[in-house]
Symmetry: D2
Subunit: 140 residues, 4 copies
């Protein structure tokens, strides 16, 4: 496990957008990765809710890193495509994206993810993703 | 047309994430909106390309604003869902998201969008979106 | 529960395509509907596997009927959109589509569904759907 | 072009579901394939409109065959995933699915497709697809 966690942490740290949005890598397990986001005025759409683009960023990264934990040695991952449903206004004290591998293949991995919002001790599902991630051979 | 442009511009200006990512509202026409993004280290994923989350942000906003230009008076718009295909590495000098209304309904509008990347005078399609936007009555 | 089951059964029976493909309504519970499909040469693609169109038909119907079980009185349902991932070749003795409501709204309901294939006593997930269903007022 | 047309025609003829639904291969050009469907009671949902599953079948096949026309020699195609928006009730005298390649890659091809319905001489877009197709090496 140590290697997977280190691999994902290094990759996460290298992503400029993760810093810009203030996201945090919460946990890395085989086939499952959690990423947190704290709302701020820098992330809003016109109603003061968190923008779908910011939610998608943590959903996509949670899926991509979950796929990375099961990718063959010597492979990096690249998102092929995803679909997002926004279930409720993104209004919470804290958001957590949970990405999980549904099917790991040799070249393609399918993941699902959800964003859970916590507010006043209550949790609600804010958004759902279904995504396809490709394994890409690292160049020697 | 003046009102639609003003409406979209005010809404765009009110979105914190648009400022954070450095996006620019380029044009507003009935059923079509263009939004530009200049790459920077603040927007990258681990390979130095622009993160899918940043591309999705301008795709989603271009679709949402295109839907807003055809929404009935007294209605705001809210993204229901979208699907994004990433066609190529997001490597360009400049990105332009072009959102277009395909079908405007009373309660739901369907849009498509693409991100065009320009580099050394050449343009390429980087990403494709197909999205559903809801019309939501403004509260009096 | 009796009414929901009757409502869904009547609607299912009225769908010509359900008969043409030989699908069977297996169970109707609040927020969850199961539909079965037995493979036959009438349903194949070129490799002899069941065609994605046939799998999508039972996925879409399972989602639509699951949404129908939680729709307000006097409302019918209509699929707005869906996204399907095909995880494995559709090779099994029997397929079961399981549709579940994730979030029931006043006008829109979000569902997920999967097709489970059973072969030689083993089960595998063959396909995944994420769908948006609209509640539509019945005309008096 | 003769070979591509023959390849697609043979594959189409080998698909049981195409016969069951009564679809017709209308045209095969590099990167673009057209498939027609005539409505009948065998294809309906509960309102008498053509079922989304039947529309998806011709959308998916139009995309898959369009991808096949640009696949490398010795490769077959397999649908990875698709997303469909249903824009209007599927009520027409005739439906035509038009599938087009947007980006052909070595291992993955991205296509879009639409279903056009013709009724009383008027045409309307009924459904939209955005799809990912994989090139799969034929076994020797």
């Amino acid at each position: 496990m140590r290697d997977i966690r280190q691999l994902v942490t290094e990759c996460f740290t290298a992503q400029g957008l993760m810093h810009t949005l203030g996201t945090r890598l919460v946990s890395v397990d085989p086939g499952e990765v959690h990423i947190a986001l704290t709302p701020s005025p820098a992330l809003t759409q016109q109603n003061g809710f968190v923008h779908a683009g910011a939610l998608t960023t943590i959903l996509d990264s949670a899926c991509g890193y979950a796929a990375m934990t099961v990718a063959p040695d010597g492979y990096n991952v690249l998102t092929v495509e995803f679909k997002v449903n926004l279930l409720r206004p993104a209004l919470a004290d804290e958001f957590l994206a949970i990405g999980k591998v549904v099917k790991a293949g040799r070249t393609l991995t399918v993941c699902t993810a959800e964003v859970i919002g916590t507010r006043d001790g209550e949790t609600k599902t804010i958004a759902l993703m279904q995504a396809t991630i490709a394994n890409v051979a690292l160049q020697a």
